[in-house]
Amino acid sequence: MSIDIKELQDLIAREKNAEEEVRKAKEQAQAILKQAREKAEAALGAIESDPTWEKVKQAGNDEIARKKAEIQENHNRNSSSLEKVAQQNLEKAIARLFEETLRGKL
């Protein structure tokens, strides 16, 4: 096969183009990987700053507050009914203790 200078130059040029194409592909590949790593970092980094956690905590605190209010309401009901019963039974209790205090044990 005989090649003249012009053809050889053309071949070299094509070879360079081919190398350039591969180089660009490598650059593009690096960019793709870089972007993927950035996305991955962002996905992991977003966990800490996710406002969901604060919302979950707030919901938990609200639930605790609701249950505490429920306990207080129950207490108020119990206390009120206790006072009512005690008021009704007061005289009987006084009479029992009065009797015991004055009871002679001969």
Binding site: M1, I3, D10, L11, R14, E15, N17, A18, E21, V22, K24, A25, K26, Q28, A29, Q30, I32, L33, Q35, A36, K39, A40, E41, A43, L44, I47, W53, V56, K57, G60, N61, E63, I64, K67, K68, I71, Q72, N74, H75, S79, S81, L82, E83, V85, A86, Q88, N89, L90, K92, A93, I94, R96, L97, F98, E100, T101, L102, G104, K105, L106
Partner: protein, 212 residues
């Protein structure tokens, strides 16, 4: 191979290599993202569980304290009512002693007799406040007679004034003062209160007990 074929081969190989590089990068990128997403899901799950545990622990502690506090409040309410009973009985006993009368004289006699029968001996000192001493002085004969009968012995009672203030009642001592029986109204009220504290609470706080 012709030159044209060689040129085509160079281009084909370059395209093939470039495509392979890009494909490898895409696959690697997908793998990185998939791993990151899996790790993120895992971290979220752990974080969620940690927050849940934190909230549960907080809830458990705070509700336990709240229940305990309310329980303490109820105990205070109960304690307040019980105290009210003791105070009211003390008022009524005081009033009864101050008013005197036959019923109180009989009580005084019984309190002295109880003291006498609880101790050995036949000679006793009976100490009361000045008001009760006055009342008893009229009944001393009857009380002595009843005491003698109760102990089947000849009993002697000597009346004295208590050096300390008392609502009423009597302190009975043996002649040598080695034994004594404190039957003052304060002592009786204290003893009855101690003995009946549980019963009083039961009477006070038992629902539907008022009309029994």
């Amino acid at each position: 191979m012709s030159l044209q074929a060689l040129q085509s081969e160079i281009e084909r190989k370059a395209q093939q290599e470039a495509a392979s590089i890009l494909e490898t990068a895409r696959v690697e990128a997908e793998k990185i993202l998939a791993e990151a997403n899996a790790k993120a899901a895992n971290l979220r799950d752990e974080r969620t569980k940690a927050i849940r545990r934190e909230i549960d622990a907080k809830e458990k502690a705070e509700l336990a304290i709240a229940r305990m506090d309310r329980k303490g409040d109820l105990l205070q309410v109960k304690s307040g009512w019980t105290k009210r009973v003791f105070e009211e009985v003390e008022k009524r006993v005081t009033k009864m002693a101050e008013n005197g009368g036959r019923e109180y004289d009989e009580l005084l006699a019984n309190l002295i007799l109880e003291g006498v029968t609880k101790m050995n001996g036949s000679k006793f000192i009976v100490e009361t406040n000045p008001r009760d001493k006055e009342a008893i002085s009229h009944l001393l004969g009857t009380i002595t007679e009843r005491a003698s009968k109760a102990k089947n012995d000849k009993i002697t009672l000597h009346l004295e004034t208590l050096p300390t203030r008392t609502l009423g009642g009597a302190v009975v001592s043996t002649e040598d003062r080695l034994q004594y029986f404190n039957n003052t109204l304060e002592a009786r009220l204290a003893a009855a209160s101690q003995k009946l504290e549980g019963t009083i609470r039961q009477i006070l706080f038992e629902p539907g007990d008022a009309n029994e």
